[in-house]
């Protein structure tokens, strides 16, 4: 900060008597405190309103009895009153300012920097020019019965500080256009309706993305050989769920809380000291719906970026109070450092790097951070595209469900249906589950997708029940990630309770590989599910990780014979042998078996002859969208039951 000594600070006292007036001895140290305070707060101000409230607070401490007004120069070179205190005296102060323009005192202040003038024995006025060496921004007015010399000096310094803030706000514009209120009667005094300085986000009060990018731009331009610019992007994990489950009002409240909490955590001296920066080197902004950006200028030690992430994590760790209980939210943080040279010399490049890091952090699970390094540039991108596609799909309900019928092999009655998840690109081309499910599992999105599926199936069950169709159970696939997390049963039970669907209508399908992921938790989940009345089936039986162990140890309902053992049936002796053995073993253990992937009449006949209870496959019925399922299978069942009745 270059604070050239302003000539007005050297101006002589108005009368010699004033210098020796009592109170000066205690006032001067107070003035220093006030200035120190102002120097701490002004760089943090983002709007004119904030700036004036700091100035007013400081000025009230220095001259408690004074009325104040600020006039800013407008594009047409007129001066407009933009704030006054007390507000009720707007008319009076406006009149007084006009009188001082008439009398030439205003001009004197503009020319010389200050004008102290005693109009009446009981009233003195101080006019100070708000200006930097480059530009005049306006004039500030104080009026009181007496303004001591020391206070005047302090106010002069305060005005200079304000001018520097205005210069920072203005960013090259010639002057501040402030909406004027002269046309309408003053109700409740002046309000700065359109605060022209730094655009703030209505909801969180943080700076907008546009300002964030401007800040980055300036910070990048001001890099020195020993400093760089750090950028962090922070995303609240699973925030769309908060909105969906608690409603948007609650979501907004939480977003506000997160913003304020992080803002306070960042504007702490201990934090600045760790990084060796000042408050004005920091810009915290809302850069997206549930995304925040933090830019750090003049960063000397980029290795501290890790600590920043840890610092931010620690401030959200305890969670948020929500309707009397604790809501845990976590942040994923992507960090990027501009380096000292031209590596990332545009705000866009820096943001892109931080965004890549953010995606990487998300991929490694929730509540994590990652620092961008140039060597992992393109490798992850298709994956990342799928991830954001999933996010979009969840937000816009772009997933859909298909249903594949299950039949009893002896009487060919419809005994159930497997629910299959489908996702289409925006252009309509399908993305196979083998592509998106692994991504969803690695990002944790699988849990949200799983909830969506369950809810959707429940809706459908109710709809079909209302139409009077057969009350068959529906099988939902549960991933390894979900199976290795606690409270799986609770999740199902909660959704089913809300949808008023009985537990026996949902069958859960799990693979052995999924069990192997966390056997202990999987076992606990399966037990709980069974106790709650859900059927649990082992999917793809025979191809997985440890087939027989799962049969022995887990309280399952039945097994689904993998298509691998069905596809070569009839003719291939090995395939026949395995199929027969599995069916025999299952029979002995009293597990019902569903054969998967029945594609020919011969396969069907073979399995039926070997005592397999039920089956599914293209030969019996392909997975089809909801409407087709209803038309093809329920209409059918209805007709059947109509005939048999």
């Amino acid at each position: 900060m270059n604070l050239a000594l302003h000539p007005r600070l050297l101006s002589p006292a108005e009368t010699t008597g004033e210098l020796s007036k009592g109170g000066a001895a205690t006032l001067f140290p107070l003035a220093l405190d006030v200035l120190r305070e102002a120097m701490a707060q002004l760089p943090a101000c983002r709007t004119l309103t904030e700036l004036f409230s700091v100035l007013n607070a400081c000025s009230r401490t220095l001259v408690p009895t004074a009325k104040t007004a600020t006039l800013l120069r407008q594009p047409d070179a007129c001066f407009e009153l933009v704030q006054c205190s007390p507000r009720a005296l707007e008319a009076e102060l406006r009149e007084q300012a006009d009188a001082m323009i008439e009398s030439g005192h205003f001009a004197q202040a503009l020319k010389q920097g200050l004008c102290y003038h005693r109009e009446r024995p009981d009233r003195a006025s101080l006019l100070l020019r708000i200006a930097t060496p480059r530009r005049i921004y306006g004039v500030a007015l104080w009026t009181s019965h007496h303004i001591p010399e020391d206070a005047r000096q302090a106010l002069g310094a305060l005005t200079d500080l304000a001018a520097m803030s205005l210069e920072r706000f203005q960013g090259g514009a010639e002057s501040f256009l402030v909406q004027t209120h002269t046309d309408r009667p003053s109700v409740g005094g002046i309000s700065i309706a359109e605060d022209v300085a730094i655009p703030a986000d209505q909801l969180t009060g943080l700076a907008h993305r546009t300002h964030f990018i401007r800040f980055l731009q300036r910070a990048l331009e001001q890099r020195t050989p020993s400093t760089s610019v750090g950028t962090l992007l922070l995303d609240i994990d699973g925030f769309h769920r908060v909105n969906r489950e608690l409603g948007c009002d609650m979501g907004d409240q939480i977003l506000r809380d997160v913003a304020l909490r992080l803002d306070s955590a960042l504007r702490s001296r201990l934090f600045f000291e760790t990084l060796g920066i000042a408050e004005c080197d920091l810009c915290f902004s809302r850069t997206g719906a549930d995304e925040f950006g933090l830019a750090i200028a003049r960063l000397r030690t980029p290795q501290h970026l890790d600590e920043i992430a840890a610092h931010l994590h620690s401030h959200v760790a305890e969670g948020f109070l929500q309707g009397g209980s604790r809501l845990h939210l976590s942040l994923s943080i992507g960090l990027a450092d501009s380096g000292q040279d031209a590596d990332a010399s545009s705000p866009q490049a820096l943001l892109r790097n931080a965004d890549t890091a953010l995606k990487k952090a998300k991929l490694s699970g929730r509540n994590k951070h990652a620092i961008y390094t140039p060597d992992w540039d393109e490798s992850g991108s298709p994956h990342l595209r799928t991830e954001s596609l999933l996010q979009e799909a969840l937000r816009q309900d772009r997933f859909s469900l298909h249903y594949q019928p299950l039949f009893g092999l002896t009487d060919m009655r419809l005994v159930g249906a497997e629910v299959l998840l489908r996702l289409d690109m925006t252009d309509g081309s399908p993305i196979p589950p083998s592509k998106f499910i692994p991504v969803a599992e690695s990002t944790g999105q699988i849990a949200e997708i799983g909830e969506w599926v369950t809810r959707q199936v429940c809706h459908q069950i109710r709809a079909w029940d209302a139409l009077g169709y057969a009350r068959i159970p529906f099988s939902i696939n549960v991933s390894g990630i979900e199976l290795s997390l606690p409270r799986l049963t609770e999740r199902f039970a909660r959704i089913l309770a809300a949808e008023q669907v009985p537990h026996r209508r949902i069958h859960v399908e799990i693979t052995e590989t999924a069990i192997a992921r966390n056997e202990k938790q999987a076992l606990a989940n399966i037990r709980e599910l069974r106790e709650a009345g859900f059927e649990v089936w082992i999917d793809d039986f025979g191809t997985g990780y440890s087939s027989l162990k799962s049969l022995k140890n887990f309280p399952i309902s039945g097994i689904k014979l993998d298509r691998e053992f069905v596809k070569d049936l009839v003719g291939d002796l090995a395939a026949e042998g395995i199929a027969i053995s599995i069916l025999e073993m299952a029979q002995r253990l009293r597990y019902p078996v569903i054969a998967e992937g029945i594609e020919t009449a011969a396969q069907l006949a073979f399995l039926r002859a070997e005592g397999c209870a039920s089956g599914q496959g293209f030969h019996l019925g392909r997975p089809v969208p909801t409407d087709d399922f209803q038309k093809s299978y329920f209409a059918q069942t209805e007709a059947d039951s109509g005939q048999s009745a």
Binding site: T26, P29, L30, L32, D33, R36, E37, A40, Q41, T49, E50, S53, V54, A57, R60, T61, G205, Q253, R256, D257, L260, R261, S264, A265, R267, S268, R269, L270, E273, S314, H315, V316, E318, G319, F320, L321, R326, L327
Partner: protein, 282 residues
């Protein structure tokens, strides 16, 4: 609005209470036959508390010449009166450390409180008018009334904070508007409910308006000034984003000279970081 206040005062018992170990220590200290040995034994029965207490005792707060590694030794060095304050501070921070708040993290809250306590201790020592030990605890407890506001009335507090963020006034004044009360009043009631010695209740009650205290005590003035120091240094926050206005009489009552302020500020910054980590880090 007044209902909010009455309602809040009635609901203070919904907050976590001070742990039994604090009450046992206090009884022992007040008992003429009690000894520091007994106190140490009570504390050591709770290993987490004992470990935390040793960390705080060894922090820059007490400036012990050598590191102490037993509770009894720590208590003997700091003395019986300070033992009470140390146990109260340690148990209180532990009880409230991991609770969720709203727009302010519990960590920021305690950082501010600890900074204020540390500043109060330094001011009392330099100014020479208040007892450093009492000033420290008064500073540490001064904003405790914000916790009930956050925990019991999160929505109203959220609205008050938003108004504060939108620069509609000091948070203290906005609390009056929104609750018909303030964290100062609620805090004093909470501390009285816990039967904390009166000087700390009075400091909490009057730290924003020291001139209104019926019985002015140097600890009140010191807490007021320490709160300003902590706020203007911005070490943590209990919600307020602006520094309160200085009460001139309180400033004089601290006995501090302006020239000493720099040293006070520097010591506060240096000490707070260490004390914060002693209280809060795992």
């Amino acid at each position: 609005m007044m209902e909010t206040k009455g309602d809040l005062l009635e609901r203070l018992d919904e907050l976590p209470s001070l742990p039994a170990v604090y009450h046992r220590v206090r009884q022992t200290l007040e008992n003429p036959d009690g000894s520091l040995e007994t106190v140490a034994a009570i504390i050591e029965a709770d290993p987490a508390l004992a470990a935390r207490l040793l960390r705080v005792a060894n922090s820059a707060l007490y400036g012990l010449a050598t590191k102490v590694d037993t509770v009894l030794r720590a208590l003997t060095i700091i003395g019986a009166a300070e033992t009470h304050n140390l146990v109260l501070a340690t148990t209180l921070v532990s009880v409230f450390r991991d609770l969720p708040l709203g727009a302010v993290s519990m960590r920021s809250f305690w950082e501010h409180s600890i900074a204020c306590g540390v500043a109060a201790r330094v001011i009392a020592r330099v100014g020479g008018r208040a007892s450093p030990d009492r000033a420290y605890l008064a500073g540490l407890l001064h904003d405790i009334g914000r916790l009930p506001l956050y925990i019991l009335e999160p929505h109203i507090m959220g609205a008050a904070l938003q108004a504060h963020r939108d620069r509609q006034g000091h948070l203290f004044d906005l609390e009056q508007q929104f609750f018909g009360s303030s964290h100062a009043e609620i805090g004093a009631a909470l501390l009285r409910g816990w039967a904390i010695p009166e000087v700390f209740c009075a400091a909490a009650a009057h730290h924003h308006r020291p001139a209104l205290a019926e019985h002015p005590a140097p600890e009140i003035a010191v807490t007021h000034v320490a709160d300003l120091v902590a706020n203007s240094l911005r070490i943590g926050t209990s919600g307020a984003r602006w520094t309160p206005i200085l009460d001139d009489l309180a400033w004089r009552a601290t006995g501090l000279e302006t020239a000493q302020l720099r040293a006070v500020v520097e010591t506060t910054i240096a000490t707070t970081r260490d004390v914060t980590s002693a209280f809060l880090e795992h």
